[in-house]
Symmetry: C2
Subunit: 146 residues, 2 copies
DNA sequence: CATATAAAAGACTAAAAGGTCTTTTATTAT
DNA sequence: ATAATAAAAGACCTTTTAGTCTTTTATATG
């Protein structure tokens, strides 16, 4: 469904946001290890996301990656389109060029509804809400485990 | 969503079935042209499908590709799994290794329902029914056009 | 200001996907 | 038989995706 770059980007950004909630700015080594992704490849992907303005970074001692809390939440849709384009949301499952609501291919209606559901999901969900869900999950479970 | 090989395979097999309904066995050149796919690449893909027993072929004059009408209908699911594996139907959208119903990642439930819908669609639909839909569509439109 | 630290930049390699082409083999019609 | 035909086989090439590594640049802190 998603390519590696997108997977690592989602996992990386959610991890960064999670650490940010705790007042920390994780570095590449920590991020890559925690999300189980290749160190240097993760660095390259995060650098691209910085250049595109999705996250901020700080060089030098105590540096790392962080979200600008002034900026609006980052939807998965924005992130996915940035890393692998929008083909997932506008292509025809059957691969036909001439396929739209007026001239549908045999699979059109059923496939379109699935594609729309996927579009809805990634438009609604964002990095911040995912990180918060994980934060809550851990907070709720912690007392029982201790 | 699907890779090129899968797209060409679906389009090619539907075209073959459509021609078979008319008592014809199309050859590679015709198929590739009609489905707008690269000639030699289409040949390679169809050859693999023959080896896997999805379709039959006949060499020599008057030869071409055809379905064994004795065999059961070929679902898109079978075809997709043969051409690009089953990762689309069992992977986690979030890319986490530990993600199942017991230990779900934040997106699990919503993503799972989309994946299941997709699975259902390609399991229900098959090459034969798609070809028949196109056959009916053309038959209905023909009288008006002439 | 020096130094340690950490991201930025970019060259490089590896593997997979996508695609091309030539040669061989099988079949059928003359 | 043999010539024409059409798929099978497989070598090769190109592009994209995935991943690695070294060098450079910026920055906080002693």
């Amino acid at each position: 469904m998603f390519n590696k770059e997108t997977e690592y980007a989602i996992r990386g950004l959610v991890y960064i946001q999670l650490q940010n909630f705790n007042g920390k700015r994780p570095g590449i080594a920590e991020i890559a290890e925690q999300i189980d992704a290749p160190h240097f490849y993760t660095a390259k992907i995060l650098q691209r996301l910085v250049r595109q303005g999705f996250i901020e970074s700080q060089k030098g001692k105590g540096g790392g990656f962080y979200f600008d809390s002034q900026k609006p939440d980052l939807s998965l849709k924005q992130l996915i389109v940035a890393t692998q384009g929008d083909s997932l949301f506008c292509g025809c499952g059957f691969g036909l060029k001439q396929c739209d609501d007026n001239n549908p291919c045999p699979l059109h209606d059923k496939y379109a509804s699935i594609r729309n559901a996927l579009n809805q999901l990634v438009t609604d969900e964002n990095v911040q809400s995912l990180a918060q869900t994980r934060l809550r999950g851990e907070e709720i479970q912690s007392p029982r485990l201790k």
